[in-house]
Every structure is written in structure tokens, then in C-alpha cells.
Symmetry: C2
Subunit: 290 residues, 2 copies
């Protein structure tokens, strides 16, 4: 299987490496070409532009910053879509709004190409280890075709029609953002009431309050280390998309709206580059306890 | 070690059984005596009132419904406190407000008795299996004395001075209640946006959104089974205590306040006896999707 991977950034580069190590014929492209070059050592071909990268490819993976970037790389001047071979499969693993993903699916279907939106959770660590959680939207047939692509990257789940992968990613981000708020308030209450927050976190692990967020982000709150991990600015963008999608659907999601407002306030203090567990600081400051 | 256990309800009865099986000399008392009698088969002595239950005991465990009940059983007419032997240790494993626990600690100290507040998480299943998460507040010396009592019941963590165990339990309940809200909103968004909520839950497990609540309560939401488990009415009581304690400390905890209001609204619809995962229904109904 010949595969092109467009976007060899923090996530895309280790993903391309894992595909190459799995024996796939990989061509890569990146806007900043320097980031793609090291992949040549693993046998990947480095292409000078998206169109030449995807020429002849059976499948194309995009791993880009946001919806407008995917738009430009696929459909902009010199974009990949016009160069796709008939019946090629595009797998967009970027995190973009569900409506944009659906529009891309429709435009590619017109060209006779398959499409999956397949954003991931697990970060750089998961990308390197090949243990990403992959949430895939599209047809069952396209999901089946993508199996050899997903296998070296992590665990893929088919969650519904095109756009559903992005919806699942938003569901993921809503839970992550709100649970960070829950753990922050619990540890703040513990501290203010005279208990030992580190011991409280320890006591709660293994019970019904246990979560990856309590384990990982709770520890960052106790230690007051807010080094990313996942950035506040990313959480702000994702929570805004969640609230926007919910409004378009006529949904009122009060915990998500509260989380969106609090993360935005934290970013407005100039702390967008901290780890999202820094929501603890926002709540602490509002209570004069930072 | 001679131990008295006051309150052999759903939690207290299996705890008393585990203490007896561990070889401790156990005396039990329960307001409804019928619930205590089966423990006699395990060698426990069934006492007719709290005072005679605690006479001669080295340690007394209370496992009762709420603060006023613990008040009455310890300090009411014919209560246990007056009958305690010098230096006895009282371990209150009920879930009561931290201020009440601190007051009990002070009154027992005046009588020369030790005290721990040691509420639990893990429910009836954990009580039977001896796998409760025990959050203990009090002195390090009293915590060390309680080790042989805690060992047959679960895993105990010392979280601070008297009252801190109750604070940790509130922290636990805040995280549980808010995380239920997070998972409910995520699944509601997934469903409304056309994804498969069961597949989305599956895809999210193992990632940063994973939690005991996503695993257990998320499944109840997907299956629309809201059989307790933990009751809405208990969550309402706990969230009200959390908000009350926070206000007394001058703390603003917006996620907890939102959760408190939503659980109260659900109970006001007459659904207090459902599992607390039924918060999904409250959010669904507000969006015309129940």
C-alpha cells in the first residue's frame, strides 16, 4: 500500500515513522521541509508539495493544525485533491470542526475518493509509541480499507458517518476540560479545608473519582507544575468548537459552557502556553488562593 | 482487640462480618435489631443499645446515616460516649459534615478518647469485598492505632487532621458528580451530532477522557439503565454539603455549584431514587432529547 502523509509536525512525524517501519511505502510532505527530511532515513520519500506527494498514493493521511489548513492543503492552489488517483482514500487525522469534515467528505466523494475523519487522542507520547486512540467517522467500507494504516498508529474505533470522528474528539475534549475543573475544585476544597491535597488525591485513586485526569493532571496541580502536555490554548479552541457545535444543534451544555468560559479567562491572563491543568490556577486565583 | 460496630446497615453489616472473620472480637448494635442478628453466626455479640455495645471496647466504629444520627448515637440519651473506656478510639466511618466531625473529635478528646473520621468510597460491593477506599482524618497516632481495624475493610489513607476524612469524601463526591455531568454532556453531544454514543464511549476509554465514571456510569447512560449504584438523593445531599462548606470557607466553586443545582433539579422531578448517572436525563430533558 502506497501512502502519503501530509504534515510531519510533532504528531505527524512519528506517525510517518511508524508507518514506514510497518513496511508501507511512505511519501511525506511538510510546509517547513526541514521537519520532513529526517524521515528519509527511514526510507520515506520527501515530496516538494502536496500534489506530488499524493500522486499515485492509495491513501493520503493529513495531520495538520486546523480546518483552514486542511482546506488549503487539500483544495487550495496546488492542493492535493486535484492530484489524487481515482478511488484513493483520504484519512484526515487533524482535529477540525465536524462541519468542515463533512464538507471535505462530500467534495472528495464528488471526485470518486473515499474519506475518513480520524482525529486522535494520546498526544506526542501516543504518536511515538503507536498507541493513539483513533476516532474514525465515515463509511464502514472506508474504515475497513484504513485498517493497515491505523494498525501501526494505535487503536481505531468506528464511531459513525463522516464527521463523527471529529464529534468524538470534541466529546473527548469536553470530558477532559470539565474533569480538569472537577479535580481542580476538589483539590482546592481539600486544601482550603485543611486536608493534605496530595494525600486526598492518593486516597481517591482507585475509587469512583478515579480518572486519567486525577492521576496525571491532579498530580500537576498538587506539584504546581503546569508544563504541557496539552496546552490551555488548544483547550480554549476545542471548548469553543464544542459550544459552537452544541449551539448549532440547539443544545444547552452548561458544564461545557462553564469550562469554555474559565479556560478562555485563563488564556486571557496570558497563560495559553501552560498545561491545561493550569485551570487550577484560574480557580485558585478567583478565590485568592493562587 | 475488642471492637464495637454501631450501625449494621447495608455498609456496616458486611464490614462487621469482615472484622469478625479477621479474628477481632466484635460487638454490634443496630437501631433495627433484626439487621444485626445474622452477625451472631460469625461470632459477633449483638448488644441491645450503644452504651452496652461499647462497654470494654478498645475501638468503636460508627457507620450511620448522617451527622444528626452520629450525634444521637454517641452523645444522645443512653449514647455510647458516656460508656467508653478511657483511651478508647472512636472511628466514625459515616459520611457527615467536616464541622460535625471536628466537634465530635473535640468532645471525645475531653473524655480522653481518640477519634478518626474515616468515611469510605466503594459502596456495598467494596464493603463486602473488603476493598473500600478509606479516607482518614485525625492524629497520626490514632491512624496507626486503627491499622488492624482498617486492614480487613480496605485501603486507608491518612489525609490530615480531624475532619479531613470528611473533606476528602466531599472532594470525592464533587469529582464524581461533576464527571457524571461531563460524560453526560459528551454523550449527548455525540448523539445529537449523529455519532454512535456507545462507540464514542468505547473509543474514549483508554485515552485522557477515561475514568471510572466513563466506564461504569457512561455505560448506564448509553444503555439508559439508571438503577443504583449511588442514588441521586445522596448526590444531592453531598453536593449541598460541598457548596455549604465552600461558602463557609469563602470559596467559589462554579462546577460544584452547577452540579449541585442540576442534581437538585433532577431530584425535584421525583427521581431521587435513580442512580446518579440519571443526570444524563436531566440534561437530555432540558434539551428536549429524553
Amino acid at each position: 500500500m502506497r501512502v502519503a502523509l501530509l504534515g510531519t509536525g510533532i504528531m505527524g512525524a512519528p506517525m510517518a515513522a511508524n508507518l514506514a517501519r510497518a513496511g508501507l511505502a511512505v511519501t511525506v510532505w511538510n510546509r517547513t521541509a526541514d521537519k520532513a527530511k529526517p524521515l528519509a532515513d527511514l526510507g520515506a520519500i520527501v515530496a516538494p508539495d502536496p500534489a506530488s506527494a499524493v500522486a499515485g498514493a492509495d491513501a493520503v493521511i493529513t495531520m495538520l493544525a486546523d480546518g483552514p489548513t486542511v482546506d488549503a492543503v487539500l483544495f487550495g492552489p496546488g492542493g492535493a485533491a486535484a492530484a489524487l488517483k481515482d478511488g484513493a482514500l483520504v484519512v484526515d487525522m487533524s482535529s477540525i470542526p465536524p462541519a468542515t469534515a463533512k464538507a471535505h467528505a462530500a467534495r472528495l466523494a464528488e471526485r470518486g475518493c473515499g474519506y475518513l475523519d480520524a482525529p486522535v487522542s494520546g498526544g506526542e507520547v501516543g504518536a511515538k509509541a503507536g498507541t493513539l486512540a483513533i476516532m474514525a467517522g465515515g463509511t464502514a467500507a472506508d474504515f475497513a480499507r484504513a485498517a493497515p494504516l491505523f494498525a501501526p498508529l494505535g487503536k481505531a474505533t468506528h464511531v459513525g458517518p463522516a464527521g463523527s470522528g471529529q464529534v468524538a474528539k470534541l466529546a473527548n475534549q469536553a470530558i477532559v476540560g470539565i474533569t480538569i475543573g472537577a479535580v481542580a475544585e476538589a483539590l482546592l476544597l481539600a486544601e482550603a479545608a485543611g486536608a493534605d491535597p496530595a494525600a486526598v488525591r492518593q486516597a481517591l485513586m482507585g475509587g469512583f473519582a478515579d480518572s486519567r485526569i486525577l492521576q496525571v493532571h491532579g498530580n500537576r496541580m498538587v506539584e504546581r507544575t503546569f508544563v504541557p502536555g496539552g496546552k490551555v490554548s488548544t483547550q480554549v479552541k476545542d471548548m469553543a468548537t464544542i459550544v459552537g457545535v452544541a449551539r448549532d444543534l440547539g443544545l444547552e451544555l452548561p458544564f461545557s459552557e462553564l469550562g469554555s468560559a474559565l479556560f478562555a479567562a485563563l488564556e486571557a491572563r496570558g497563560e495559553g502556553l501552560r498545561d491545561h491543568s493550569a485551570l487550577f490556577l484560574e480557580l485558585a486565583r478567583r478565590n485568592g488562593r493562587a
